[in-house]
Amino acid sequence: MTEATAPTATETNRGFSLAAIPLWAQFAAIIIFGVLLSLVWDGATRWPEAWTVPMAAWITEFIEWLKSEATIFGVEFKEITRGIGAALKAPVKWAEYLLYRGFKGIGLGPLPWVAVAAGVTIFAHWVGGRRLALLCVLTMIYLATFNLWKDSMKTMTIVIVAVPMAALLGVVLGIWVTRSQTASRIISPMFDLMQATPHMAYLAPVAALFAFGPVTALIATVIFAMPPMARCTILGLQTVSSDVLEAGQMSGCTKRQLLWKVALPSSKRTLMLGLNQVVMQTLAMVVIASIAGATGLGHKLLYSLQQLRLGVAIEQGIAISLIAIVLDRLTQAYAYKETDHFAATKTWTQRHKHMLLFLGILVVSYIAAEYWRWVKIPPSKFVWGTGDAKTVLFDAKLLARHADQAIRDFNVVAFDYINPIRDWVTIWILLPVRDFFLWLPWPVFVGVIGLAAWRLGGLSVLLLCLALMFSFIVTGFWVETMKTTYLVLIAAALCVMIGVPLGIWAARSERVANIIMPICDTLQTFPSFIYLIPAIMLFRIGDFANIFAILPYATVPAIRYTYLGLKRIPPVTIEAAIANGATRMQRLFKVELPVALPEIMLGLNQTIMMALAMTAITALIGSTDLGQEVVRSISTQNFGRGILAGFFIAALGIIADRLIGSWAAERKRQLGVA
């Protein structure tokens, strides 16, 4: 689709003499030239080893040097990072004392679980009413009955420290970008880079530079979760309608007031989308950070998977999802909460009844916890009666074992049907496409992408793409990069084929949306590790399993952004279409989809980013691409290769982003919706 529509847009607008040559001929010329070159010169197929820049080794040596010898103004670099680590440790420690350790110094236990559960529920009732409170109650009961309370609290310690840090940092950076051209030029590409870099690539260097343990997890989490907040701040501020701003100016707002009282509040919805993303990303990262010293649900989950206790892993995964959904709903409800305009007429106790109730429960539960252990920590078994008459009401372990058995039984039955499909797709689609990418001489790849970049986005995009492409060619990562490209292209194509229709369907029917959107939330928050084991059991090691494991995670943005894009269309536009006598289909294809296209494209962009990030996770199945390099670097401490591989994954994402972005911009201009 990209190639098909681009020429009409560009040919008429550019005065280059090249435009006289048909576009297909230009591409054909590049391809033929590249292939012929590869026939006479081996270096066109594989970059000559003698010319390879040993960048990976340099980076590894640099980090080793930083860690051991570097000094800044006489202070060892290592000491500085350690200092930062120690400073960050304070809030983490405090959260730990509060949630599960207790303040040993003053003999005060951690918050009793009854108080935490009641507190969350009361807050939920205050911001979102009864339904939200019910969701919270159910979640708390789930965590308690499945014996996951303490691990949940361990996970929450990092979350409650990381989310505010990431959100605040994101808003500040976002505001700065909208204010300053220079900042925009430096920071925007950094965000692209950071967000496109897989979670795991952060861990090893952060662990090397900072103290090992929760602080590493915290830093990696904040870095990883911050960009969506900044992005949404930028988007929100840039899309504030000029009428609103003018109204603000007319009422004599200062620049600062205009930002804090007008622009930010009126972009609240977009900002909350950002916060939502921060929460989701934080949880996702905290789970993965368990391999670098974070305790909690992620660590337990990894262990369960390692033992093939899928049932337990699913229970733990659901806990993570539930926590994410509760946090998400709470933040959203808080954002949409109406200001109480009658507050002044109420008494102090009326206004603070929720707070007072919570304080009451807190004090009572602390006292009660001294007498009954189950107030402090949820009981590990739910038993009715005493002595011989005891009956176990609920046993999470037994349930998990049944789930294990069910998954294995399903595998035995389904394998005979699924295996032929898997073999067919592998032999006739996956392997040929992979072989094609491995055969591809690099001048063809560079030429085709370069030409597309130039025609779509002009010189600056061309230069950026060329620089990124040569970065992995000259450092000797061509083969790994091509394997990643192939995996991600196939996965993204599948995601769009599944996600866009689902998004359209959801936008057309409220009932469908009510089903699909919670599923999206769950899929995105459900720890991606879990998909791996069933994928391996059903499909065995191979690219088919890799792609299958990418899908659930990477389809979500395609659905979500299509839905949002269609929902955001002003009613006037649709009414105009109806008034003009458009049928339902015409309305969808001629009006709604084109108008929603920028949003859908943002979704495709996100899908590609997520698929790229997932390659580092699916590497655990067994692959030989960039994702594998990232994962392996953590255990081999070959930081250079890991960081570079992470960078190249990001580079692929940025190239895709620029091509799609330029095309979308051009398209919008054509449609007159820009």
Partner: protein, 313 residues
């Protein structure tokens, strides 16, 4: 005014941990590394609980099995009870150069080799040895490896190149490497449930022997000559035509600060020693009996009071 109050309250909260931490730090915790396989978890709890009995404060920290050694060299973590020769040798030795301490070797011996479930012997009776296995290579073929058999190998970074051995022994197998240990077990579980022929990388002691029935495949015994002299072994034209050692070491590792700050703990930890049967029994309590690792450790200490006592003296 309201905001100011909030700010003051927040500042007070931020200070609190520092004060609380100072209280706790009067007996600085010894940080014991935990990995994600059963025996290690149980043994680390056994060691931790022993230290607690001696009056030390103990904390557990999860870690990657390779990153942990550098963390110990940096004094971020203090003790690891299971360091395997097969998969951790290079990270262990590298960290030892940077200051990490070798806290002694267990009696337990470790072996890593190709492994088959017993039902494979029904369709391929000779599979107990590499030659017999090779005769029915085709039974192990998949779409990607056809007509060769598939050997499911360990993660590529575990430092073993089975493709080389397959080449040296001229076997009709292709080594497909997994990304992590769990993938091996998922493949095994899936094949085992369907009684499908499979040959994969495995090691002992681990929980597999308590859950699945099977055996190691015998290869020509390793020797220095095997890796240096081409004429040695079944293939006169290649080196490396032999199996892995049958008895690798299992070590303990410690941070350099451990002997300095807790000399008593250091003395005890050096005495800690497990053999194969003890490790397998520890894993069994969790993997088969369904205990939590911590419960299993308590039971182990109860059952082996004398041994624990001998460490504490």
């Amino acid at each position: 005014m309201k905001n100011l109050l909030k700010g003051v309250a927040l500042a007070a909260l931020m200070l609190a941990p520092g004060m609380a931490a100072a209280e706790v730090e009067s007996d600085e915790p010894i940080i014991i590394v935990q990995n994600n396989w059963t025996s290690q978890l149980v043994l680390s709890y056994v060691v931790g609980k022993t230290l607690e009995k001696m009056g030390y404060t103990v904390e557990y920290a999860p870690s990657d099995s390779q990153l942990q050694f550098q963390a110990m060299a940096d004094n971020d973590m203090d003790f690891q009870v299971e360091a395997w020769e097969g998969s951790m040798k290079s990270a262990f030795e590298k960290a030892a150069e940077n200051g990490m301490l070798d806290a002694g070797t267990h009696s337990a011996l470790t072996r890593e080799e190709w492994w088959i479930p017993n039902y494979v012997l029904e369709t391929c009776p000779g599979a107990g040895s590499w030659e017999g296995l090779n005769r029915c290579a085709e039974q192990f073929a998949t779409a990607e490896t056809k007509p060769k058999g598939r050997f499911v190998g360990p993660p590529a970074d575990w430092g073993k190149n089975y493709a080389d051995r397959v080449g040296a022994l001229e076997m009709d197998f292709e080594a497909i490497n997994v990304g992590q240990a769990a993938t091996l077990w998922a493949e095994l579980q899936s094949a085992y449930d369907r009684k499908e022929p499979i040959v994969l990388f495995n090691w002992t002691p681990n929980f597999i022997e308590s859950k699945f029935e099977g055996q190691f495949v015998d290869f020509p015994a390793p020797s220095d000559a095997c890796n240096e002299v081409k004429e040695w072994g079944p293939n006169p034209n290649a080196t490396g035509d032999c199996g892995a050692p049958h008895s690798g070491w299992l070590k303990k590792a410690a941070s350099p600060r451990l002997p300095e700050e807790w000399p008593g703990a250091w003395a005890a930890l050096q005495k800690v020693d497990f053999n194969n049967a003890q490790i397998a029994a520890a894993a069994l309590m969790v993997d088969v009996d369904g205990m939590e690792p911590e419960e299993a450790a308590e039971k182990w200490i109860e059952d082996n009071g004398d041994i624990v006592k001998s460490w504490m003296e």
